[in-house]
C-alpha cells in the first residue's frame, strides 16, 4: 500500500468488505494515512515519530439492530473477523428504535484539502523547522518547547444502499511555548492549517512567543474581578468550541441545555448574544476546508448557527431531525466566527483599562444551564492602560459563560485560523477560524501563581 488508499483502492476495499457481509445492511468506513510529529523542549528535539496506519470499520445491521467492529488487519482473515464480529454483535444487540436507514448515494461539495507542502514535511524538514525556533530562543536566552504535527491521508465511507464518499486531506500545526530560564516568564504562539505553506513561518511564531515570555517576567498581582478583556484569536477559539458543543437540539428540546426555553421548546429564533455575532460552518470555506460529509455519508452544507446574535440553527442528528420534521444539521464543516478588519493592536488601542489574554487552559464545564465554564489564562496575560500594554499580570482563573461574554461584546477584529484545541496539534474536531475580540465584565475569580 502507498501512504494511503486512492479513491479506487478505497472503493475496491469497501466492495471487498461488503461482499463478505451477510447482514441486511452494511456500512464500511476506511481511513488510511500517515502521521508525523516532532517534539522539542529545552531547545532541542526530544522525541519524534512517523507512523502509517489504515483501518476499516464495519457496521452491520439487522432491522433496527446494529453494531460495528474496527480492524487494521486487512488480510482476508482480518476483514472476515471484523465483519463476523460486527454481525455477531448486531444480532445480539437489542433493537435501537433511533437507528436511521442507510443513506442512498449523495452529492457532496468539492473540497480540496490535500496540499503538497504538508506532504513534504518529513522528519528532516521538521527538524529544520525546530531549529529555526530553538536557535532564536537561544539567542534570546530563553527555552523553547514545541510540537510540529503533520497528517495526510484519505477517508472513505460506503454502504450497501450504494453510497460512496471519499476525501483526501492533509493538516499541519506548529505550536510552541517559550519560557525564561528563571521560570518567571512564559509565552505561546501557534497555528494550524491544511496547507503547511500557509502556516505562519516558524521564525515569526518563535519571535512572538519569545517576546511574550520576556515581557511576562515581572507580573504584578491585581485583584480578581470583572475586567474588560482583549482575547487573542486562540483564546476566542478555546471558548467558542465550548459554545459549539452546547448547541445540540435534542438536549435543548429535552430541557437540559442552555438552549432550552423555560417552560418548553428551544431558543431557536431568539437573540442570545450581541448582534455583531455571526457563527457558521462551511466545509468549502478556504480557511475551514473540512470533510464534506459526516460519518454515515450525510452531506455537510454551509450552516449558520448564530446570525446577528440570533440562534438560527441547532445541531440535529438524523433521528432527531426526522422526529422534529426538520433537515439534519450535523456539527461538521469547521467553525467560523465573522469579525471586522481591526488588528489586535487596534483593538488594544481602543481599551482604556483591561487585560490582554493570549490563551486559556483546562477549560471545564461547571454548569450546563448557563454554559458556565472555568479555566485559566496562560502564557501571557497583560494589563492594558489607555490603549497600551503596560504590565504583565499574574494569571487568573475565570468562571464565565461564552454566552455572557458574547453579550458583553465591545469590538471584533480580523478572523484567522487558530489551533483551538488545548493539545496544540492538528484540529481533530475541525478547523476553527475566529477574530480577536474585546468584551467587558469578564469574570476572573482567583489568582493563579502559575507561569
Amino acid at each position: 500500500m502507498a501512504e494511503w488508499l486512492s479513491r479506487d483502492e478505497a472503493k475496491r476495499l469497501t466492495d471487498r468488505v461488503m461482499a463478505l457481509s451477510t447482514a441486511e445492511g452494511c456500512q464500511v468506513s476506511v481511513n488510511s494515512g500517515i502521521d508525523g510529529n516532532t517534539r522539542f523542549a529545552a531547545n532541542e528535539v526530544s522525541t519524534s515519530g512517523d507512523a502509517s496506519n489504515a483501518s476499516v470499520t464495519v457496521t452491520s445491521r439487522f432491522g433496527k439492530r446494529a453494531a460495528s467492529a474496527t480492524t487494521n488487519v486487512f488480510d482476508d482473515a482480518g476483514l472476515k473477523r471484523a465483519v463476523e464480529t460486527s454481525e455477531r454483535l448486531a444480532r445480539l444487540a437489542p433493537e435501537n428504535p433511533e437507528l436511521m436507514p442507510l443513506l442512498p448515494p449523495q452529492r457532496y461539495r468539492d473540497v480540496r484539502s490535500l496540499f503538497d507542502s504538508s506532504l513534504r514535511l518529513d522528519a528532516a524538514a521538521r527538524a529544520d523547522a525546530v531549529k529555526v525556533a530553538t536557535e532564536a530562543c537561544e539567542r534570546a536566552g530563553a527555552g523553547g518547547a514545541g510540537f510540529i504535527q503533520r497528517t495526510a491521508g484519505a477517508g472513505a465511507v460506503a454502504n450497501s444502499a450504494g453510497l460512496f464518499a471519499y476525501q483526501p486531506a492533509s493538516s499541519a500545526a506548529y505550536t510552541l511555548t517559550v519560557r525564561t530560564p528563571d521560570g518567571r516568564g512564559s509565552g505561546w504562539a501557534g497555528t494550524a492549517h491544511n496547507d503547511w505553506a500557509r502556516i505562519t513561518p516558524p521564525a515569526t511564531l518563535a519571535e512572538r512567543a519569545i517576546k511574550k515570555a520576556l515581557d511576562s517576567r515581572e507580573p504584578v498581582t491585581i485583584e480578581p474581578g470583572k475586567y474588560t478583556v482583549v482575547l487573542e484569536p486562540t483564546a476566542v477559539g478555546n471558548l467558542l468550541r465550548v459554545l459549539e458543543f452546547a448547541m445540540g437540539a435534542r438536549a435543548a428540546d429535552e430541557g437540559r441545555s442552555f438552549f432550552s426555553r423555560p417552560g418548553g421548546g428551544t431558543k431557536l429564533g431568539e437573540k442570545i448574544v450581541d448582534e455583531r455575532v455571526t457563527i457558521l460552518s462551511d466545509p468549502q470555506d478556504p480557511d475551514l476546508l473540512s470533510r464534506p460529509y459526516t460519518g454515515d455519508g450525510f452531506p455537510v452544507e454551509r450552516t449558520v448557527w448564530i446570525e446577528n446574535g440570533v440562534v438560527k440553527n441547532l445541531a440535529y442528528d438524523r433521528f432527531w431531525a426526522e422526529k422534529k420534521g426538520v433537515r439534519p444539521t450535523p456539527f461538521a464543516g469547521g467553525l467560523k466566527m465573522l469579525g471586522g478588519t481591526a488588528t489586535l493592536d487596534e483593538l488594544i488601542a481602543g481599551v482604556r483599562r483591561g487585560l490582554l489574554v493570549t490563551r486559556f487552559w483546562y477549560i471545564r464545564g461547571v454548569d450546563p444551564r448557563s454554559i458556565l465554564n472555568t479555566g485559566l489564562t496562560r502564557d501571557g496575560l497583560f494589563l492594558i492602560e489607555n490603549g497600551r500594554i503596560t504590565r504583565a499580570v499574574k494569571n487568573f482563573r475565570f468562571n464565565e459563560s461564552p454566552v455572557i461574554m458574547l453579550n458583553n461584546l465591545e469590538a471584533l477584529g480580523r478572523p484567522e485560523r487558530v489551533s483551538a484545541s488545548e493539545s496544540g496539534g492538528v484540529e481533530s474536531g475541525g478547523a476553527v477560524v475566529v477574530p480577536p475580540l474585546v468584551a467587558r465584565d469578564f469574570t476572573f475569580s482567583s489568582i493563579s501563581e502559575a507561569v
Binding site: 526530544s46 519524534s48 515519530g49 467492529a69 464480529t85 454483535l89 454566552v403 455572557i404
Partner: protein
Amino acid sequence: MDRRDFVKSSAAVALAGLIAPPVRAGIPQADAATRELCLRALDAAKAAGATYADVRVNRNHSQSVSTREQQITGASDSETFGFGVRVLAGGAWGFVASRELTKDEAARVARLAVTQAQANRRAVRRPVTLAPTEPVPDGRWQSPIEIDPFAVPIEDKVALLLKANAAALQVRGARFVNSSLAFVLQEKTFASTDEVFTVQKVYRCLPQLTVTAVDPSTGDFQSRDSAEVAPMGLGYEWVLKSDLPGNAPRWAEEAVQKLTAKPVEVGQYDLILDPHHLFLTIHESVAHPTELDRVLGYEANYAGTSFAAPPEAVLGKLKFGTELMNIQGDRSQPGSLSACGWDDDGVAPETYLIIKNGILVDYQTTRDQVAWIRPYTGRTRSHGCSFAESWADVQFQRMPNVSLLPGEQDLTLDDLLAATDRGIYIVGRGSYSIDQQRYNFQFGGQAFWEVKGGKIVGMLKDVAYQARTTDFWNSLDQLGGQRSYAINGSFYDGKGQPSQSNAVSHGCPPARFKNVNVINTGRNRG
C-alpha cells in the same frame, strides 16, 4: 527461560512487592513469528548504526456497549495491531511504526527510525543516556482477571445495563439515564537490545452510569453518576461486583434530591473528602506535578510544567503537605489500572515514596530521565514509568498509580465526620480544572453533604472548592486508616503531543482538610 524458571522468578519478584500476584488465567504466549520480527527489527537497527533499539508489538482490543433509558445507543469492537521501533542513534531518539507485521517491514521500519534519529541530531544538544536495567530473557505477566470480559456475550452486558437503567428510572423524578461498559485488552510484546523480552496481557474495564433528574417547572436539572464504581485493571467479575442495578436507585434518588438541595453559602469550610472524590484531587495536584518531564519543561507546550521545581531546590525540602501526607508510586496494587510486570522501557517498576511525611523526596522517572536527577536523589535506575498508548505512539513518561497512604490511626469516615463541627462531605468526581503548573485548582463533585456538629444534616448543591495546592495539602489534618482505604482511577488520562491516553489508579483513605475556600457555581445561571 522455561516455565519453571519463570514461575520461580515471578514468585521472587512478587515477594519483593514489585508486581501483582501471579495470574490465574494462564500465562500469555509469545509466538515464534513475533519473536523473529522483533529480532529482525533490533538487528536492522543495530546494523544501521543504532546504539540502542527497542520494538513493541502491540495488539489493542477494545469493546464498548452504551445505552440510554431502555435502548442501546452503541456497540462496538475495535482492534489495532502493529509495531513500533524506537532507536537511539548519535544520542537522538527516532521512532517509526507500521501495521504491516512482516520481517522485511520490521527491518525497513528500523532503518527508517535510524534515519529519523540522524535527522534529529542536528537539533539535539545533549545526547540521551539510558539508566541501566536488568536483562529479562523471557518475562510474562497478565492482569489478575477472573472472567475474560471479551468472552462474555454482549447480550449479558446489555441486559445488565438495561436492568440498571430501569432501576434508576423507577425513582420518581429521574428522567434520563445513560450507562456503558468499556473493556480493553492490550497484548504487548517488548524486546530491546538490552536483553529484555517480555510478553504481557493487560486488561481494563470501566462500568459507568449517569442519571439525570429534571424539574420542568423551574427548568433545573441535576445529574449523579456512579462515582463509587472505579475503573479497574480487572475482568468482568468487577462489573458484576460493581452491581450497577443494585446501586442505580440510590444514585437516582440523589439526582432528584439535588434539585431541591440547598445551594451552598460561599465561605471557608472543613472538607471531608471521600476516597471516590479525593483520588482525582491527588491525580491532578500531586501525581501530575511530580512527573519529571513536566518538572524539567518537557511538557511545557501542552500539559504544562510544575511548581515542584527545580529538583535541586525542592527535593528533600519542599513541604508539600502536613506530616500525615505519604504519597506512593507503584504499578503493583492488584487490580490497579497501571499494574504491569514491565514498563515500556522493559523495566520492572518499583514501589517507592514520592512524598514522605509531607516532604517531596522523588519524582516519576523513565530510563532516559534518571541521569537528570541522579545528583539529587542518588538513584541509578528508573522507577518504571514508561508507557505508550499503542504501537503507533512513542513511549514516554506517564504516571504510575500515585496513592495517598492511609494513616496510622484506625480512623473511619464516620470518625472524620463526627470530629467535624462545620464542614462539607464530598463524594465523586465533578467538574475539575487546574493550572499548567498545578498551583491553583477548582474541583466540584457528584454529591455534597452539609456536616454540622459531627453529623450529616442535609444535601448541598453548586459546590466547588478552590485552593492553592500546597496550602490545601498543608491543611490536611485527619486521615482514615487502612480499613477506609479505597481505589479509584482515571481511565483516560491525556498527556503528550500528540496526546496519548493512559489509565491510572489512585488509592486513598477519606481525609479532612481545614478551612478550604468554597464557591457557589450556580450563581451565574442566566
